[in-house]
Amino acid sequence: MSVTILRAATALYTVATAAYVVFFARPRIARAATIGFWFLAAAFAVHAIAIGVGCAELGGQEFFSLRGGLVLMVWLAAGIYLVLQRWYRLPTVGAFITPLILVVLFPLLFVGPEHAGVPPETLRNPSVTLHIVTAVLGVALFGLAFGVSLMYLLQEREVKGKRFGALFSRLPSLDALDRLNQRLVRTGFVFYTVAIVAGTLTAKVVWKSAWSWDPQQVVSLAVFLLYGAMVQLRHTGWHGRRYAVLTLVGFVIVLGSMVTLKSVPGVTRHAGDYGAAARAGDAQ
């Protein structure tokens, strides 16, 4: 059921994307931006229903899988963009964000929401919920920063190279994109930090040790340090191009590690195959 609703949401996202792309190509059609916004808002609402129904059906176990995490991330990214659009009025940015949403969401439509095995009772506590929500929120913000950085770099190339093409007349100023990127990274880092703390506390209880060199822990620490460094570098004057490149690299690492750690079975205990653990427990 939740998959069907998610498909409906995807259809709405597709319309929103098309409208934003039309607006980008023909800025005179101001109505396209409005249509894009409202379809995105509708998609966000339907997506919320899909997540709620999914929770009711599976009791939250879907969020222990990569699919569940990404579904949640895309939903939050769409929500954040809707808020940003209300604050800053950047309709041309929609043409960059909505396609990213579709690219992430589309493959998920063909995967079932069921997780391999039911997570043990020890994982059913508020600190895990906090860990999941803040981690996904942080990554969603990093994802939006990725989109904004991409816009910055593409436009910067035009401005510096004296080729004043389509982007030049449509995108916000370099300074505005740079500052938006910085804000997204900073806010994302705050949530990511909370996620790491909550995760460490959970590990101490469930894995009996706060730090056990689990690959997920190593990667998360690296990402934490990278974005932490970016927040610090900002204070020493880093900005613009180099900052945007770092933002791109950071998100590629985040997304790449998420996919890699999940697709190699048994490499991490983090949100792993609880079915196998249960079976092993039965065997003993």
Binding site: V159, K160, K162, S173, L174, D175, G237, H239, G240, R241
Partner: protein, 446 residues
Amino acid sequence: MSEREIFLVGLSHKSAPIEVRERVALTGDALKAALGELRSTEGVSEAMVVSTCNRVEVFVHAQADEPARRFFTSRAADAGAHLYVKQGVDAIRHLFRVSSSLDSMVVGEQQILGQVKEAYGLASAASAAGSYFSRLCNRAFATAKRVRNETDIGKGATSMSQVAVELVEKIFGDLRGRSILLAGAGKMGALSAKALQVLGADRILVTNRSPERGQALAAQVGGTFRPWDELTKLLVQVDVVIVSTGAPTFVLTRDMLHAAMKARRHRSICLIDLAVPRNVDPACAELGDVYAYDVDDLERVVSSTREARRGEALRAEAIVEAEVMAFAKEREARAALPVLAQLRRHAEKIARAEAERTLAQVGLKLDDKGRKSVEAMAQAIVNKLLHGPTARLKEAAASGDTSLPGAAAELFGIDHEPHEATSAESEERSAGNGAGRASAAASERS
């Protein structure tokens, strides 16, 4: 009485030099007086004068163009050689093109529409423009709006200082809190600095080899003068540098910028080199966060804008042509309507009279229902008979054929008055009806 027509007599930057234009240009009370004069001329029912620094054009709804011509020749004897005269659809097209900024010196500039609106407002307030000009001008303004909305004719920068401003805005966004360094005392530099200041840049610093000229320029643009040997230090402080010195060599070198960028912690800097020969080493642009542009770069943007506007102008012309044709058609249709109305009134009068006569003769033998049937039959005959002629008259009017309405009047023995609408319009105007919309609505009914 010959038929009234719209005439345009005028001169513009295309036909007359400034020496002639300035002698016939009018503003304020002089313009009002001229409108009154035109209006009181025999045979002129409406008049409007568009007077800007690039054009002076007199539009009249009159029997001949002579009164409008006299407007010019009485003010400048030699104006006659520079005049262009247009009539009917050509005059309408001209007004539509002017309003849409297709006839401007810089095609697509924004001011002309406001100027035409002002001209109409003045003519209307002086009771010189009536319902005809009201319809005409409202259509012209609507056309200009369509052109602006449906084409990109107003897009892009058309002067070098405008391009400089656009670039700076693209890089820094909001200019509040930004500072500008003006190096050298070139005129273009001062213009651009002024433009940036208008957009909200807070601080203008001026530096020049000769302190006297530098100080004078600083006073002129409202900036602060700083000695020339502080240049390297100033590069660290400011966001935009506009360079326009007469020096034959590079005033800003790559090494200078390299050092400055370090000291700036790589905050972006925009260098605009307006000097020829160039004052900024092009190698500066290789450095990160340095955005450097020279005269050629700016000129390229200006010419690409012009190129783009030429393309857009073609699309705009098509819009104007469609609007002109639509307006002309409506005008013709309007001219045919009085005949139609008269024809119908005439026929209905006969039908009613005949029905009454018949009823009076046989009336006693008929009940109410029968009476109604007779009346309905008379009316039906009128409708059936007039259906064909009505359609054909409307068709003829729409295609611009004015002979058929006259022939119809002749044939049916109606008193055809082609100027009925015109005389109604002048009554409206003498009643002081200046509001465009109201008089347009009134004429729709007439």
